[in-house]
């Protein structure tokens, strides 16, 4: 099969195009892949870019990551579609790197291969009970409500509990909380997958805890997402006023970060303006700070199912250069719940023949040039192999971050091309 694919990729009709094309293959069709393709086509008139994705559909996380009630964020698809319409660009869906075709085969077929397949796995906590039924990663839940083909089969029980705990306070955590708490009449007007809408209509979840290891000054979300979740209709929001106390180190952190300042302001405003008790039947959102998950505990009635999370209380400890980390205090507290969504970060997956830094979960690189090993020696380069997006810098940032990330990778390719490092 790989042979057939190889032949097909090679024998594409280039008659109307450059007679001496510079062939580029981009693996992954999310923002990193499309921005890389766009910059590549712009930078080199001879470049012909094939974008390959393991799914039949393009656009990666714009499709399966961006929340269904954020259609304006998905508008970037228009721009990516224009890239795909370029006569020097082609999209090949349903082609999986590693099984449909190997990396070494691709490197033989193309002058340049850019890996931009993102981060399709999850970080784990490594604490007892993590594999109990009812403990999911937020990524699985997001794929499920966004209709990702791999998320359809998620065994999600929204009917046997009224409480969900979300671990993490980043934007993914806030998205997930919003989907659980928003009225389904409103969600019905969005892009949400129909199987998810049907399940949410029957959902018995009324109370959501968003738990972070550190304080409100360090919350990893952005103001837009926070404003949105705080603005959900008929929602009781609870934030402990004592948690809003700022230390000198907190003040220092806020001084240097506009976003942390604005997020903190929103949280403290929500804390002071909220009513003290929920009206009966009202859905509830509880922000819980300074708690580190210690273990998940199993239900007595339903064997193998999660019944709650045990947390260790934390305090902040300075680690230099203004950064503060959470340190355990030896005091514990539990929250009962029937569902846990871990939103503690994504992780990239390695493929055969690709140097991989398992500690950082990225491909070792210098400015997008793939390094042969993780020793950090910048002279040991993999010829013609580059990386872009989350696989290059780790799973953080917004869609636009990939624009600059792709720019850097394409600049490296251009430089190598000029210096004759790439056979053409």
């Amino acid at each position: 099969m790989a042979k057939l694919l190889a032949r097909t990729l090679l024998t594409r009709d280039y008659a109307s195009l450059s007679t001496n094309p510079f062939r580029v293959c981009v693996i992954g069709s999310g923002p990193a892949g499309f921005y890389t393709a766009e910059k590549m086509l712009k930078a080199h008139a001879r470049a012909q870019v094939d974008i390959v994705d393991r799914l039949p559909t393009p656009f990666g996380l714009v499709r399966s990551g961006v929340a269904p009630d954020h259609p304006e964020t998905k508008v970037v698809i228009n721009q990516f579609s224009r890239v795909a319409k370029n006569e020097r660009c082609a999209f090949f869906g349903n082609v999986t790197l590693g099984s449909s075709i190997s990396l070494s085969e691709l490197r033989e077929l193309y002058h340049v291969v850019v890996l931009a397949y993102g981060a399709e796995s999850d970080r784990v906590l490594g604490i007892p009970g993590e594999d109990l039924i009812g403990v999911h990663s937020a990524r699985q839940f997001v794929w499920w409500y966004n209709g990702h083909p791999d998320g359809r089969s998620l065994n999600l029980d929204l009917n046997s509990t009224d409480t969900a705990v979300i671990l993490g306070q980043g934007n993914v955590a806030l998205d997930v909380a919003r989907i659980l708490l928003r009225s389904t009449t409103e969600l019905a007007k969005t892009d949400i997958a129909s199987h998810a809408l049907a399940a949410l209509e029957e959902s018995s979840i009324r109370k959501v805890y968003l738990v972070g290891r550190r304080g409100p000054v360090q919350a990893a979300c952005t103001a837009k997402e926070l404003r949105e979740v705080l603005g959900i209709k008929d929602l009781f929001v609870h934030i402990k006023e004592a948690d809003l106390h700022k230390t000198l180190a907190d003040e220092e952190e806020m001084k240097n970060s506009r976003i942390q300042r604005r997020v903190y302001e929103l949280l403290s405003k929500a804390a002071t303006s909220a009513s003290s008790h929920p009206i009966s039947g009202q859905r509830e959102l509880h922000f819980v700070f300074f708690r580190k998950p210690d273990r998940f505990f199993e239900s007595d009635e339903k064997r193998g199912h999660v019944a709650g999370v045990h947390f260790e209380k934390t305090i902040l400890k300075g680690v230099g250069s203004g950064r503060q980390i959470a340190a355990g205090t030896g005091q514990y507290e539990g929250i009962d719940c029937g569902m846990v969504l871990k939103s503690i970060g994504y992780k990239s997956v390695a493929v055969d023949g690709l140097p991989f830094d398992h500690q950082k979960g990225v491909v070792p690189n210098v400015g997008g040039r793939v390094l042969s090993d993780t020793s950090g020696d910048p002279t040991l380069l993999e010829n013609g192999l580059y990386v872009s997006g989350w696989l290059k810098r780790g799973p953080t940032g917004i869609i636009a971050t990939n624009l600059y990330c792709a720019e850097e990778t394409v600049a490296s390719i251009s430089e190598d091309l000029e210096q004759g490092a790439l056979a053409s």
């Binding site: 594409r12 559909t57 795909a84 999209f91 083909p149 506009r258 850097e408």
Partner: protein
Amino acid sequence: MLISRLSRVGVWMVKELYRGRCTSVSKNIRRPHIQFCQRPLFESHPEDKVFHSAIFPKSHNFSAAAASSNAIEEGSEQKETISVTFVNKDGEEQHIQVPIGMSMLEAAHQYDIELEGACEGSLACSTCHVIVMDMEYYNKLEDPADEENDMLDLAFGLTETSRLGCQVIAKPELDGIRLAIPAATRNFAVDGYVPKPH
């Protein structure tokens, strides 16, 4: 099993592409062969097209482009445009005439100035970030709304006089405004990546 079936479909798609001797997906993967692919992948809806042509008239709709450039010419006679200078990433200046009421994002795209606009002016990204070069002009703008500030939080190389290009609308007082497009790559390096010497 499912995976191998999907891969077969994938190979089939690739084969079809080859048979069609075509390099553009937009014309080919149309038929609803698999459940995830029931709509043409790269075909925009009519309403999208309308939206496109409002912002990218040159590439999509020649008549609209012609109409708007006429508007610019007529406008300048009646002094209904203002002069705007864009300073690009390399420090080069581009002087353009912008009709009153038009956003700087739209104007930049009309003149092929390289200003990104990922969300096409719907206040969902920060890619059209511009820096107003004179405080005097910055003060003539209305204060950014919460929604704009939320996006500016995430802009690379944010300054005291940063705004989103889509929210700066041409008005007579802004005649002569100078807008810098931030050198993104440099800011990206500051943001996290530490370049190593070669």
